[in-house]
Subunit: 380 residues, 2 copies
């Protein structure tokens, strides 16, 4: 196999040892709380990563697009939850996947979609399983667990020919904004109790609820009680990233993904290193800009993934240029970072950085040998 | 052909009328100044767009990656300038393209790369044409027009077996930060005079300079004099975008690119519309955040690209969710934006938004018919 040193940069690198450690840690934690995990495959979009993620689990996954559903179904995974509120123009595609044998469950939070998906189900002569989206933190979409609308939507699903009500699902997206362990634990419990109370209300109203699905990487990581929850969902834990490190979910050393870049020049007056890792390779994600430590466009390590002598970050990017500088603004010595030198950049947001690339170059630890190349996809 | 209304969202839409108008306007302007344009294909990464861009031009293009060089060479374009400082690990690839017949010119700004590319040229038994990168505005990379280093690098290129010195190239990237017409005109003239003075210094030193290449969409647009310049480069002018509108380069109505999204729900308490156009479809680019008018993740129009009754922007995004709200924070009526309704989002940064998609769905004006589907690519 080739070495990382032989490749044209930029290159997306995945450390399989860190990946496996992240997977094992999360599984152990969730199992210790008596629950199972339904990995969100939107982060990796790779069958190789997802197969590893499913080790020891019943085999269900979460997707954010029907392209993900289709791809993973074609790679042998039947049990799929599409965790984005269904758009009417996707109902036909959902029906086609179910017709082909996928056990695909959809998500909705309003009566208009109940009508639309029920019509699609009847037109295709099949039954579509449905989860109702809950909003526990005002983050995005969903109905409030205590609302009248929850019962209204659930009853509409229950009584619609072509639909089968499976349960409730929530995503405490505001867990990303928590800044202390205590706040994270509270958010995790708030997410759990909100979903369980909604499920209890529906059950008390005679509605059949078998799924109570919650999760985000931060809230699952800091959960201490999953009573009443049937599954947790998380995505970014497989790779981790700087945003997760900023939240306190992981250490920098847990981040399995990095972008290998080359030094292509210097701007000596400003103390900058210029690399070929621009936003096309790193993504435009600046998720750490709202955190206590702003990591620019990423933390810069040496070619084997170890910290350099200087504390370097990617200060700014153009499409195919990265400007690397010391965090403290002090000048660095160009001679220590000669043209052609390789550096690795840890991503702010693994989902966004991954999405800029067509494959993972798999290494183990500080090894430079590319052990495997795992394809990944994007789009819809 | 299908209608936009029949497609699964999100979908990248290109208005061919606006594209052609943008192309014609720029050509006319550059020709009126006695110059030619070498379009930067990194924006579109589409042979269909690039063929239209080249109408009436000698046929040369600018690329930001060797994948672009390879792709467009395979689609019949020989004259290619690779306008990112060359990394040593790409020299072999450059040589292979030249061996196959590409008239590929590379860019460098330091002696280390002179040595590396000369060695590669000799190893392959061919000659590699070189431009020297100039830094006229401290934006990124390049040598100062008045520096001793300029002469040193130029002489090294001139005397290196395997290399041929073609000229100088600069990119006034800080033109993006100009806020007045006067500042833009000054920056355009500063870019021109810096490049011409560097070329004059080199010529005076007996060095052969046939190319003086400058440009960025803002500086070219506001140029009033291109004396001494042999070509201008610009990329984003083909589509235009909200950042360009914020700089004053174009009007909103000139923006040829948009993302078609569906309403999938509402968060009525907050007055939000939830769509299926998240950052995966729009990109994470927040280029307007540093401009006087922050456009969020994009300006929202109706399904045919006309303004809606409310002044809507994409307030925030997750991977496959967009949160749309009125700019003034006032609540909107969910009933006016029912589930299933289509909306179009104008991009902050056409290069970044385009990069999230695999194809352009081509329409004309307010027509909904998809006249053609033009593939585009990403990666390296």
């Amino acid at each position: 196999m080739p070495s990382l040193l032989d490749l044209e940069t930029p290159v997306l690198v995945l450390d399989r040892c860190k990946l496996d450690r992240n997977l094992a840690r999360m599984h152990e934690h969730v199992h210790s709380l008596g629950c199972v995990i339904r990995p969100h495959v939107k982060t990796a979009k790779s069958i190789d990563v997802v197969r590893r993620s499913l080790l020891g689990e019943p085999g269900g996954i979460t997707v954010s697009t029907l392209k993900e559903a289709e791809y993973f179904f074609e790679h042998g995974i039947q049990d799929i939850t599409y965790a984005v509120g269904l758009a009417p123009n996707k109902v036909e595609h959902v029906a086609a996947l179910i017709q082909r044998g996928a056990n695909l469950t959809v998500l909705l939070d309003n009566l208009a979609v109940v009508a639309s998906v029920a019509q699609g189900a009847r037109a295709a002569g099949l039954t579509i399983p449905v989860l109702i989206e809950l909003d526990v933190d005002g983050h995005r979409s969903g109905v409030a667990p205590s609302s009248a609308l929850l019962l209204e939507v659930a009853r509409a699903v229950k009584s619609a020919a072509g639909l089968v009500l499976r349960g409730v699902l929530t995503h405490a997206g505001s867990s990303y904004d928590c800044r202390t362990v205590e706040a994270l634990r509270q958010m995790a419990e708030h997410e759990r109790s909100g979903a369980v109370s909604a499920a209890d209300r529906l059950k008390a109203a005679g509605l059949p609820i078998s799924v109570v699905s919650i999760g985000s990487t931060p809230s699952v990581t800091f959960s201490r009680n999953l009573a009443g929850v049937t599954e947790v969902r998380a995505g970014v834990y497989v790779f981790q990233d700087l945003v997760m490190a900023g939240v306190g979910v992981c250490a920098l050393d847990d981040i399995a993904l990095s972008v290998l870049v080359s030094v292509i020049g210097h701007q000596s007056e400003k103390g900058w290193i210029i690399t070929d890792g621009g936003w096309a390779a790193l993504s435009r994600d600046r998720g750490t800009s709202s955190q206590p430590v702003d990591q620019g466009y990423g933390v810069v390590l040496d070619e084997s993934g170890k910290p350099t002598r200087d504390d370097l970050i990617v200060l700014s990017t153009n499409q195919e240029h990265g400007v690397v500088a010391r965090r403290d603004g002090e000048s660095l010595s160009p001679a220590e970072y000669p043209v052609g030198m390789l550096l690795r950049v840890l991503p702010n947001h693994a989902c966004a950085t991954g999405a800029q690339h067509a494959a993972y170059h798999v290494v183990e630890g500080e090894g430079q040998e590319v052990l495997e190349v795992w394809p990944r996809f994007s789009g819809w």
